[in-house]
């Protein structure tokens, strides 16, 4: 009996056009849109541009000119230098053509018109040059033999801080949108789960009434329908993650199998939400509306529409992120990508299991009745 119901549950679910549109085609279209929209934004955000600067009096300081020339060459040039006179340099600074003016000489001076990243880099460059030049001059005057060693030591990029990456994952902020896209598909599992309870309750639909007349235990029927819905939803989740990872080329780091696991569990959570809503005593169309509205609201709070929404909620109402199913799904994938340990990921997975169990339990409480006061 279980296998019979399960087989037809799968078959009928696979043929529901709405399901294919909302769970397969829509996420693919939205993911493609994200890729087109955010791909360029990320490239612009991360690409470093050489800082335009003017140098006045370089002809009197060949050493500084050499240094400026060396940092202006190649693909990763730090500066884009223009050698000119003071008047022209000031005009360029005023027009914004350059971010600062270096005055070469015994002591390198810097004039900037404002503050910002470019100006800070120019200031650091000038300071470092001044310090290095002073050390080299001192070495040449007091111990000429040690000068080459001093110059070599200064040339090395020595820092008191060592950069240790927290993760090997993708730190691109834009991937958050793809995490939320996966969360959205998981939430749409609620649409798949709606009919599990409605189709098994005599007071919900003619089909539910008809099924209730058959000599099949309601628990068996619900279990078969629920499992069938979870498998269909699971297929949609696998398709979505695969499309995002392989077709759109979004980097999920080195733990893609666990991303699939999180997505599958998220899908089951979505089905359980639908199962619960389906068991509520309200018209069928209203249930679909409730499920879609709830899904979109949760996705909004998790940052699908506004990127920094989750951070905002994290600051103002952190509890919401803990119980928002969409946020839990996207956070689980985020944790996998960002943190090297599994602790946070496991917490998110447990959260998903708990939310799923809560909704299944509530749905079962509502569907356990076998006789109805009215049909």
């Amino acid at each position: 009996m279980f296998l019979h119901i399960f087989k037809y549950e799968l078959l009928s679910s696979l043929r529901v056009k709405d399901l294919i549109i909302w769970l397969m085609i829509f996420p693919i279209a939205l993911g493609t849109f994200f890729k087109i929209a955010f791909g360029n934004v990320y490239a612009r955000n991360t690409e470093f541009s050489a800082i335009p600067a003017a140098v006045v009096g370089a002809e009197n300081d060949p050493a500084f000119r050499n240094v400026c020339d060396s940092v202006s060459e190649g693909d990763e040039a730090l500066l884009k230098v223009t050698y000119t006179d003071e008047k022209t340099a000031l005009e360029m600074l005023e027009r914004g053509d350059v971010e600062g003016i270096f005055y070469a000489g015994d002591e390198v001076m810097l004039t900037v018109a404002g503050s910002g990243l470019g100006q800070t880099i120019l200031k650091s460059f000038a300071d470092r040059y001044s310090v290095s030049a002073a050390i080299i001059k001192d070495a040449l005057m007091n111990d000429p033999a040690s000068a080459p060693a001093v110059i070599a030591a200064i040339s090395e990029d020595v820092s008191s801080c060592r950069e240790i990456p927290l993760t090997e994952g993708n730190t691109d902020n834009m991937v958050q949108y793809f995490y939320n896209l996966i969360a959205m598909v998981a939430m749409y599992g609620a649409v798949t789960g709606l009919h599990v309870s409605a189709g098994n309750q005599a007071n919900m639909s003619p089909l539910g009434a008809r099924r209730s007349c058959a000599p099949a235990r309601k628990s068996v029927s619900i279990a078969a329908s629920f499992l069938g819905s979870c498998i269909i939803q699971g297929l949609c989740m696998v398709l979505c993650v695969s499309f995002v990872a392989f077709a759109l080329g979004v980097d999920f780091g080195s733990r893609l199998p666990l991303v699939y696991a999180a997505a599958l569990l998220g899908g089951c959570m979505g089905v359980s939400i639908g199962f619960f809503v389906g068991a509520l005593n309200m018209p069928e169309s209203a249930k679909t509306g409730v499920v879609m509205s709830f899904s979109m609201l949760m996705c909004f709070f998790s940052g699908l529409m506004v990127g920094n929404m989750k951070a905002l909620i994290s600051a103002k109402a952190p509890w919401l992120n803990m119980i928002n199913p969409a946020a839990v799904v996207s956070d689980s994938i985020y944790c996998l990508n960002i943190y090297s340990d599994y602790r946070r990921f496991i917490v998110k997975m447990i959260s998903m299991v708990i939310i799923t169990l809560v909704f299944v339990a509530l749905g079962l409480i509502l569907t356990r009745r076998k006789k109805y006061a009215s049909l």
């Binding site: 019979h4 119901i5 089909l207 009434a209 008809r210 007349c213 000599p215």
Partner: protein, 316 residues
């Protein structure tokens, strides 16, 4: 026709202030085609839903096949075929798959199920439509699919709740013939309808319901004997003097003679040769008349006389 298949005793069902079933009792024997006849809202579907243990009820007792019916009476449910008033099929499954799905809820043996499904397809005349989806079927074919889904597992008791609503005459006849065929094959049938012609044509015994109460029960002949009217004579006549109408009304066995300007309708209770006596009066006065026809009482007349209102809704 000995064993009692359905026994309903003093069933009471209330929806708040409204009493949907008012101490309703019924007994149906094996092999019967039992008709539940009544206008919309009379309690037919409520009776069926209580019978199937879908609805809770306030009072009374229901036994099927000699056992108390409960929601978990799976041994009873496997012998029942249900054809609901609202078509209950899966829109994403084909005709064949739908019948197989519902049959599979009762029959686990695959080979036997295949045989039953094919027989149900043939029975319902859906052979040319097995690969069609329900949305592609006409109203009549959809009703036939609904029936095929309900009877494929060869139940001993078949409950049909208004199976011919919104069905074309051709499909309706096929459905009625099919029900008779199922009955001949040994099934007991409960048939609810507000179409008196169907019930009259099909059912061996009939219960007439109104406002949740059983107002009459018996064979159609027994029901008709319960009322005064045994024959209605209608004569198309335009000019009819009042004294002639009064003379006809005073004839033996005539209890009513009404003239509406076009027709004279005379109701008779018992007696023979009523028509001859009426026509003699008209001919003796040398009055011309058009068509003359007589009608035996219908179940609608039974209902009308018992309740004072027509059985059918106006829209029917």
């Amino acid at each position: 026709m000995e064993n009692t298949v359905v026994k309903i005793e003093n069933l009471v069902k209330r929806y708040g202030e409204l009493i949907a079933l008012d101490h309703f009792s019924l007994e149906i024997k094996e092999g019967e085609i039992f008709g539940l006849l009544g206008p919309n809202g009379s309690g037919k579907t409520t009776t069926i839903n209580c019978l199937l243990s879908l609805l809770s009820y306030d009072k009374g007792n229901i036994e099927l096949f000699g056992k108390k019916m409960t929601p978990v009476s799976y041994d009873i449910k496997k012998d029942i075929g249900v054809i609901m008033q609202n078509v209950a099929v899966l829109n994403e499954l084909t005709v064949y798959e739908n019948i197989d799905y519902f049959c599979g809820l009762y029959i686990s043996d695959k080979a036997l199920r295949k045989k039953y499904v094919e027989e149900a397809v043939e029975f319902a005349g859906l052979g040319d439509f097995v690969k069609f989806y329900p949305k592609k079927l006409s109203g009549g074919l959809l009703r036939r699919l609904n029936i095929a889904c309900g009877i494929a597992h060869k139940p001993k008791l078949i409950i049909l709740d208004e199976p011919t609503v919104a069905v074309d005459p051709q499909s309706r006849n096929r459905i009625l013939e099919g029900i008779e065929e199922l009955n001949r094959a040994g099934a007991t049938v409960i048939y609810t309808s507000h179409y008196m012609e169907e019930v009259e044509q099909l059912c061996t015994r009939i219960a007439i319901m109104d406002k949740g109460r059983k107002i009459a029960e018996g064979t159609k002949e027994e029901l008709k004997r319960m009322i005064r009217n045994t024959e209605t004579v209608t004569i198309e006549i335009i000019e009819l003097p009042e004294e002639v109408r009064a003379q006809i009304a005073s004839l033996p066995h005539v209890y009513s003679a009404e003239h509406d300007g076009e027709r004279l309708v005379i109701c008779c209770s018992g007696g023979k040769h009523n028509l001859i006596r009426i026509l003699d009066v008209l001919q003796s006065r040398d009055l011309g008349f058009g068509r003359v026809y007589t009608e035996l009482p219908t179940l609608n007349d039974v209902f009308l006389e018992i309740t004072g209102k027509a059985l059918r809704d106006k829209e029917d």
